[in-house]
Symmetry: D2
Subunit: 416 residues, 4 copies
């Protein structure tokens, strides 16, 4: 007997979202996707923007919705997309972020250092493909850009992909930074295909400029907000310290899955090595992780006897974050040394530990990178030109990489 599947999803951003394909719905119900309900899209950003609790699941569903609009719009314009291709590209967008772990940026710099979430996404898609008897073959080829129709890959991963069209709109909505909103609907209406490449029809050019500037705004105002930056860097340090302690043989509270990740260096090879992780392989353990593993662990770690771990964990949990200073030029050695000395004085730390209390790094962002993955405009005369070439004005400013330097340290240092 067929169970009655609920196929309409209420979304505060786009209203009712209808899932029309049964296969897509089966994927949504799979534990790998359901797990995304327990991972916040923007990690610790809710520390600054309390409304930012939306999950990677919501983003995945929103992207499926926009993909459906994009496909039907392209078909109406005469672009050939078969039913199988439509399903495949929809599956690809649904699953494109499936490899994200909890607080994933922090994670990628600590527990699974050197393995990007894209790699894990692909491993999980392949596992799903096994479970669904090869039905994801085409989706995987599109994801890996090995499918002949290249524009399908561009819908999934490019500088104007459906991913961004959903997340900028969604993150703007939940953060309350309304000015970051973009015209997703309009941009999608302007999509077309020329020479197997995605293009934007000419009259959509201002919407693209607007999209690029909104993205820039969202980066500096939300994603790289200084307090968020401080929190995320502290989280990396928490995980590094925990790993260090576990490897040294200390006992730390952790869920069984998290424990495995703390206990050894996880490399890409580990993910496919069946001898690790006891009964389960690393991939199986990875999909058991979500935000709750880290939160519940840090809540305990704040009482741990190791001062560094307890200080950092308590700080993240209770929002007593490091002071952070950001500037456009590097900090001088003198400034850094002065801070180091203060920390050594106050907490009697050695050289190796210093890095836990003094974070010194830089961040970069650019609105648009001109390169192989271009945003192309379909001019009124039928020619295709890159956005920075097609615009009325010189968009070179958006091509610039902006680098900022920051330093984080305990607030106690500022108190005389």
């Amino acid at each position: 007997m067929k169970t009655n599947k609920k196929k309409i999803i209420n979304d505060p951003v786009f209203g009712f979202i209808t899932i029309q394909s049964e296969f897509i719905f089966d994927l949504i119900e799979h534990p790998f996707v359901q797990r995304l309900r327990r991972i916040k899209q923007l990690g610790l950003s809710s520390i600054v923007f309390p409304g930012v609790n939306h999950t990677r699941f919501e983003h995945a569903i929103g992207a499926v919705h926009l993909m459906r609009l994009a496909i039907s719009g392209l078909i109406m314009k005469g672009i050939e997309i078969s039913d199988d291709e439509a399903e495949a590209v929809t599956a690809a967008i649904l699953l494109h972020d499936i490899g994200h772990g909890p607080f994933s940026h922090a994670l990628e710099h600590s527990l699974v250092e050197g393995i990007s979430h894209e790699v894990i996404s692909l491993l999980l898609m392949e596992e799903l493909n096994r479970q669904f008897n090869g039905r994801l073959d085409m989706a995987i080829r599109i994801f890996k850009n090995e499918y002949p129709k290249k524009f399908l890959h561009q819908l999934v991963a490019s500088q104007l992909d459906i991913d961004r069209l959903d997340y900028l709109r969604r993150d703007s909505f939940f953060s309350g930074v309304t000015e970051g909103t973009i015209g997703s609907d309009r941009i999608i209406k302007m999509l077309n295909v020329r020479d197997d490449g995605l293009v934007i029809e000419h009259k959509g050019i201002y919407s693209i400029e607007k999209f690029l500037i909104s993205r820039r705004l969202m980066y500096w105002q939300v994603y790289l907000h200084k307090t968020v930056l401080s929190a995320e860097n502290m989280l990396v340090k928490v995980l590094r310290r925990a790993t260090e302690l576990v490897m040294q043989g200390h006992d730390l509270f952790a869920t069984p899955a998290l424990r495995v990740f703390l206990a050894r260096k996880i490399t890409k090879a580990c993910f496919t090595d069946p001898t690790l992780g006891h009964q389960k392989n690393i991939l199986e353990l990875f999909v058991e992780l979500d935000d709750s593993d880290l939160i519940s662990a840090m809540k305990q770690w704040q009482y741990h006897e190791d001062k560094i771990l307890s200080y950092l964990s308590g700080a993240v949990i209770h929002r007593k974050l490091f002071r952070i200073k950001i500037q456009n030029t590097p900090f001088s050695d003198k400034e850094i040394t002065e801070l180091e000395n203060k920390i050594i004085d106050r907490w009697a730390m050695d050289e190796n530990e210093l890095g836990y209390f003094l974070i010194h790094d830089s961040i970069t962002n650019f609105a648009y990178a001109s390169g192989s993955d271009k945003i192309n405009i379909l001019m009124k005369d039928g020619n295709v030109r890159e956005i920075n070439d097609a615009s009325d004005v010189n968009l070179s400013s958006l091509l610039q990489t902006v680098r900022k330097y920051f330093v984080c340290y305990p607030k106690e240092l500022d108190i005389k």
Copy 2:
């Protein structure tokens, strides 16, 4: 040295919220309030409404915002409210829900059976009052309705309190059930005081009717949505089973705080008994609990050897919920017995265990209760009349208590 406090909060529902009082800001920064960031306002409702991930923290901040509007509106109308009273009633609304635990309705029916969150809220306020040297005295008197100006208590707790004005608007926003939205701003503009009681000016009467009907809609469509009901009832069973197993001496994964609550019956007395809970008292342990304790535990319990615990935990985590049937009349004994027999057949359960797989209960809701806590209308002639008396139409329908009966059981039973 004074630290630089961030006092503007971005809220997707109300825009910029300014926290004008330093004391209120200090309360917000207290771990007791920060903890609300880790507790979802609507518990498991996100299983049906994926956007519903907002937390009790956001609701508390939103309520502070609306309280400020209400107070300044009343003062402009000539109602006397001193600065101290304004601070106290604002503190009271900020803290009114502080005693909620994770998935609190489930909790109140399992771990801390028989202790309402209001009782715990009061215990926590009293603890805060100690920490802030009595500055919450007046807030507590208002909360307990022991303060002379009774209308202040009504702003915090009544059928038209600031609590509801925020949560209905907020829950409607995040669920995407836009038709549930209410005119919070308009209702607040219409507030006034007569004979020490909160009243609504006559021209706001349609907004009140609308508010009552929206509340009714939100109850049946969101809060008591049948799938949510199934999930929440299963969660109660999960916690009951876990408690039962721990008391029988089984070993279960749990955070240290959760373990204490599983290991013994918690009564109100326990909260103040210093001999329980090892170094910490029960209240201290309670505030360590949040959604992550239950999520991380259930993720492990799905692998437990106890079939009931593992079945139920896995079902809640992976959204493989019990079938639920709801109707306006009680289910017949015959129907129930039939379901019981099927369960016994299939899972070889005994009488005591049956209750874990067959949930049979009823729910009730009413839009408005006429009683001591009335919604009163200030008529154009200066008289005060209760809403159901003041309306043009007979509102008796809203006074009716609606009861519905439901039964939940494993979906496997429906498959022939």
Copy 3:
């Protein structure tokens, strides 16, 4: 050569609206429909709600949009609707209000007394049908409820028609009375057909209750707002006085089309009598009228030598409106007589003129009328029940007709 038709319309309420049928687009471009751009949907309501300047054109387009959603939803549920029927019912909803004149309620009580806008809509549809060579035959049959599939007529004209689903949402949007908003999308998703009648699926029942109560709220708070009522009643008096003066041979500024309507009593027969209105018949003149004819005339009339006409016209133009009192019981003869005497005293009016300065009438509204045109609910067991029967609660209150009495008179009378 085919001209390039713009078929995407930007709508602030629903976003992008796509007009998919070329015939529907041709109708939209016809002067009869374009004229609706010059007639405000809510007449003089903008006197109270400054944002309420949306036109009957926008409403017509919005209704076309919702009709498309409704039709495709019904087809997906297996209801048979042919392409011709889809076009016809869409044309019918586009044209359903085409017979409205400027400030139409005022007009129906003055210039074209006794002829409803529905009658004129039908005359105009028939004229369009001639121009489009019979392509509107089916649309007209649906409009007149002479087409076999009765549910198509219900989509156009019933207590839950597409007309209301658009205008309640739209009027709420532009007035800023957000609490009046309705779940148009949800209601449309819940539409179904049983026994050739439109029904709402059971789980949409709370949305229907909400829809009815919102409609009630919009009536009393916006459409029948007391200041709007005063303004509209004054406008009726302006037009009556102007007619009276013109018939008496006075010279009044007026556009040529308006002049014809002022110069003689227009009956239904006139509309089809080719001997009236000089070269043009009355119908042709009628479609030349829009808000600008009345506004430009009243601006002149405020300087007319007739004191009554100049007083009333100036008052409407400059928003110096009559005082209005509304109550649930009739005004006593004594009150009325007292007001009459004051007016006679002050303006030396005779009996016949008194009615221009003292308006005494009543208004009624009901949320839902149980009768032949029912709102029916499709119960879970497959039965169909009327909304007031299907609801959990007694909705009798919504069936009540509410009558209110009002009196309007110059503000000068209140000044001692």
Copy 4:
């Protein structure tokens, strides 16, 4: 006796707007301001964006609202603004656009050629100042930038004035071009004053970039939309032709006020010459004009015997607009001559008349002009730097003036 003044205004964009000053409310009720209810903010743009029917009145009220927020924000930051100054700057923003006529851009290029609306605004403010016994003295000095505190003038008229903060947000709202929305609230929260000049605090810099790019988008996408451009240019031609005919002694339907403007060249001197315009002076006649005068006239003119007037009037009324071509380079003489010849062939026009059927012109826009009226940023170190200097990226693109060339002609020419 004091009349009961309604001081809360429902605004769909900002919600409830409270008018706190009685004097400001009296100004709002004055016929000069009430007249703005009858003039659309964006003239003929509703031809493309049907929702764009908002009036100059709504914009003026919205600007008053934002000014109140700006003032109270600045006062909270310690900037000294007296009650009188607050009232004056609010009055100035309320009245800043009062001199706009109907379809004002068209008007400024036809009926009152060479007189900007700012000049007329000032004349009207001075007249109001007489009527209010000098109470507008300070407002006028601020408006004319003759008041010592220069930042007050900047709030009223500069590249980041309250005018733009309201109109960009409002026009985006009503047009449905949501991506044009700006963070008015955030920008206002970031306002400050240094050296008597308005500055934006550093962390608001991305909102300013966003504001500039949104303004650019709104210009090209809405204000200078090609169809709108065609309509507005045709309207100028309509009025020029009407003037020409009236001056030649032809009889044209027109309201009395419009007739005066058609019958002679209106210069600035005329506005103050008491011998013109019969009983009323030109200023008095000017304020009698609104959109209805032009609409009602054009509706008649479509039947006029002059072919040019009737063609153009009918085209504007019924939306049968000239074909328009826009490009970044000038049109060649050859292209223009070819079009001219076609027109002469088809309509047998002479040289003088040709300009009515062939419009050939250019438009320019720039996002930001660096000059005396700078947008200044208050850096974290306390220095003030101009926006294009303070930004992380090179904003030179926004300083570029973009010029586009267009040509409009009857669509008949394209049909073979």
